[in-house]
């Protein structure tokens, strides 16, 4: 315990420290993508850049929206909006595990007194047809990071393997600050708590997700987005090739609308697979188109 004399990092210092650390490893430090997503992987900087042969290194924070996880600000561990810290290194360097452990040291995790373990967990995201092998990284029995070597994206095997790290920021911060309730996290070093920033948002969005969102509207919007994707991909334009990036944005929007309908209990068991299949097909179409464009560039 003697080693832990330094005060633990605030939530924002945790992010800043990771930014500095991964910036020093040559990553471009990006800002969050401005479309609602359910996981940091869906940011085009990961899911699209993982395709093709071009090297790529990026780090960013991405808010994850999981409408069904809303608890009106009353559950100490569960949020419908939380942050993931996402790192992608393509191709994965040989020393990625060491780099990762270095990042834990940088944020003040003392590996002399903690028990860090790499426990098998093969990641899969059927919506984007992506899969990989790796681990969940445990610190004293708690999962703090998902560590994956991408093997396929968009239903096709990747040319070059990327290493992907996803840190659950709130969980990690709760661990570092030794706090039992997410809303008690120190957000900065000036007395602002996580709850001061997000509690009201959690309450209002929980009520919106479960009670106030209008299902017919969501349904219509979903169908609009779906049609838009096909239309965007098939509309002739002055560039002379398909507008895959805007199309992908619309896929993300459709995906979030699906999650909202799901939170309202508006998706029957029998429809579920069909909805997921529709999003997956659109997503795959974008991924394949992007891969082809990358090949050509």
């Amino acid at each position: 315990m003697a080693k832990d004399t330094k005060a633990p990092l605030s939530f924002q210092d945790l992010i800043l420290t990771l930014h500095h650390y991964w910036s020093a490893q040559g990553c471009v430090v990006l800002q969050p993508y401005d479309v609602e997503v359910g996981a940091g992987t869906l940011h085009p900087a990961t899911v699209l850049r993982a395709l093709g042969k071009k090297p790529w290194k990026a780090a960013y924070v991405q808010p994850s929206r999981r409408p069904v996880d809303g608890r009106y600000g009353e559950n100490p561990n569960r949020l419908q909006h939380y942050y993931q810290y996402q790192v992608i290194l393509k191709p994965n360097p040989d020393n990625l595990q060491d780099l990762y452990l270095g990042s834990l040291k940088a944020i003040g995790l003392d590996t002399d007194v903690h028990d860090i373990r790499f426990v098998e967990d093969d990641w899969e995201n059927p919506t984007v047809g992506a899969w990989g092998l790796g681990w969940e990284v445990w610190c004293d029995g708690m999962e703090v990071t998902q560590y994956t070597y991408f093997q396929g994206v968009g239903g096709i095997e990747v040319d070059v393997v990327s290493g992907e790290l996803t840190y659950g920021l709130e969980r990690l911060a709760m661990y570092l600050q030794n706090v039992d309730n997410v809303y008690d996290l120190k957000f900065n070093n000036d007395g602002v708590k996580y709850g001061d920033v997000f509690k009201e948002q959690e309450r209002q969005f929980s009520a919106f997700n479960f009670e106030a969102s209008d299902v017919p509207t969501l349904k219509r919007q979903f169908e609009d987005m779906e049609r838009q994707v096909t239309k965007i991909l098939n509309t002739e334009n002055s560039l002379g090739y398909k507008l895959v990036l805007p199309a992908y944005d619309h896929v993300l929007k459709a995906s979030h609308l699906f999650n909202l309908m799901d939170a309202r209990g508006a998706i029957a068991v029998a429809e579920r697979q069909s909805y997921i299949g529709r999003i997956r097909d659109l997503c795959k179409a974008c991924a394949l188109e992007w891969a082809a464009q990358e090949e050509a560039r």
Partner: protein, 759 residues
Amino acid sequence: MAHLLIELFSEEIPARMQLQAARDFERLFGDKLKAQGLSWETLKAYVGPRRLALHVEGLPLEQAAVSEEVKGPKEGAPEQAMAGFLRKVGLTQDQLVLENGVWLARIEKPAKQTAEVLPGILEEVILVFPWPKSMRSGTSSFRWVRPLKRIIFLFDGAVIPFEIGGVASGNLTQGHRFLSSGEPFAVSDFKSYKQGLKDAFVVLDHAERQSIIIEKAYKVTAEAGCALMEDHGLLEEVAGLNEWPTPLLGDMDPKFLTLPPEVIKTSMRTHQKYFAVRDLSTQKMAAKFLIVSNMKAADKGAEIKRGNAKVLSARLSDGVFFWSEDNRKGNFDQWLAKLNGVTFHAKLGTMAQRVARIEALAGQLAPLLRADAGMASEAARLAKADLASYMVGEFPELQGIMGGYYAEAAKLAGDVSEAIREHYKPQGPSDSVPEGAVSAAVALADKIDTLVGFFAIDEKPTGSKDPFALRRAALGVLRILRQHNVRASLADLVALWYQTLLIYAGPNQAVYVDTENWRGSAGPRWAEGETEVYENYLRDFRAGLLESPVWVIPTDRDYDLDIKFEHVTNAPKVDNARLSFRDYRTVSAEFADFFADRLKVMLKDEGVRFDVIEAAFAAKDDDLVRTIARIRALEEVLSGKDGEALEAGFKRIANILNAETKKGAVPDHAPKVLPGAPEVEVTLVHKALSLAPTIDKQIDDERFAEALAALAALRPDIDAFLDGVLVNSEVPAERENRLALLNALRRLMDSVADLSKLA
């Protein structure tokens, strides 16, 4: 003689794959050494989170020289043939030898140095290594379970040059990720390897890690007045997650002890890989847990224990929430309603329909188990409800167990709660059969439904594929039938299942059959309870369910019994059927074969001679319990004092009859005492005639061993008859009668078992 040491050092290998990987490494490498003519004294693989190693002692320094003979053309063969052969073997004709008119080429394969052969072997083994899942890394196309980092390849003290996947061989390895300096160190042989690792906080041997865990866990729990709740699977897994296993005893918040112990244990095990701990003074679960950490921490594990306790609290808080939600009043009804929306199998319908079939079956089976039919139906109706509960959603392995708790909380009858809890039993060879009659009835109904259902939609196990675990279910059925002495023919059990198909009759669908003579359906009217109209009709219809394939068709009307004439008008289209089931006769026949095979496997595992099983099965008794009794009796008699007499007597009779059968039909009328017959014949005829009713009675009473002993006792008379009388008499009437006598005796023996199957 020399030693070989290989280490494939990688990033963390999944724990569940490790032991199999060690076995595969030994097998593959050993096979390839043998194929190269290399022998060894010892060969053993070692495995841990970051390494897969192989140590071989007593390898020769070079292969044995191999001399190979290749057959060439015959003497005097055309010249082209000889020229072709010489080209192929690379020799001239004066180097060939002529043996028995054929030219032979002797090719001496020079012995290679073992060190030259080994790289090829290692490369092949790595390339074909059967990891359940493997991956690529970076820009390489090389596949391994996780990125490969280092290779040690030492033979006879020297590094063998080798490279694969961009990794070159050497003599360096690394120790524990956090406890050692992390610097690579050199090794020269297995001893220095193992010791070097130990100095760097790595226990190489999986088995040694397991015993360290047991020993230390025992110590830390005993100090706290507790004991580990042993769990072999978990032990194997955690031994694969640690290089330096360090058991620590953590404290759990005692408020969680209000949860059922199974919930706590399962949560600890599946989410956190902790062992549950029992308080020695109360023999109940203690408010503690055992973690096997991979650290010798500077603070003696205080932080690790604190962190793990926190995670466990969060997990168990979820458990408390599920437990209280699941225990609300009226949950069973809501859960059952939810099962309507859960598909059991696309070709068998919903889980709710499965429940309805099991409920009907359990009521029918109950009398066979001397169980109360009402209780059995009620338990079956509720048995699957917990599948819709929160807790079972989180921990599927607690199905049944949770249902039992919830039933107790809902104050259901004791037998009903017990049956809900135990109806999945027995789940494997080591699991017990439910003891209560109601439990056994529901357990049997559950398995019969699974088995006949999948047979009816033609989803039988084939070869090694058994995705619905039907073989296990069949063994479960056999064990329940045996333990509860259920006397039923398999055909009847299958028939009961076909009768349950009436549950598919609903407001917009009908159960439809199309037999040889008529067709008809039970549909909306029946489902709506118009049973008066239906009473007579249904009796015929139920019989029809066993005479035709069965279809479930969408319709808003019933098709009455319709005798087939030339022109039939309103028959529904079975092409539109929602579900369809193969006909009872086909399924029932396949079912009998399948069960006979399962029973044979089961008895063979119990050590029963295969020929004894075959002999008893040849009696073609549809009652499995009685077939087992025949087998047991035959075994008993054959291993006792009467065994030899029985077999010898049978053999003498069978030899003669078999020879006669080739000439023509053997008479099968009752033997008589012919005037002037020799005394040995008269005696045997009398005995055969008087014994027949006794044997029949003994078989009826299932006293098979007594019947066999009585037959064995005939041996002196059989011997005296066959020694003293010529069966093949020149007097046709005598011959006829003597053959009839022998045939009568054989029929008596066959009525217990076909002794000709005995080896």
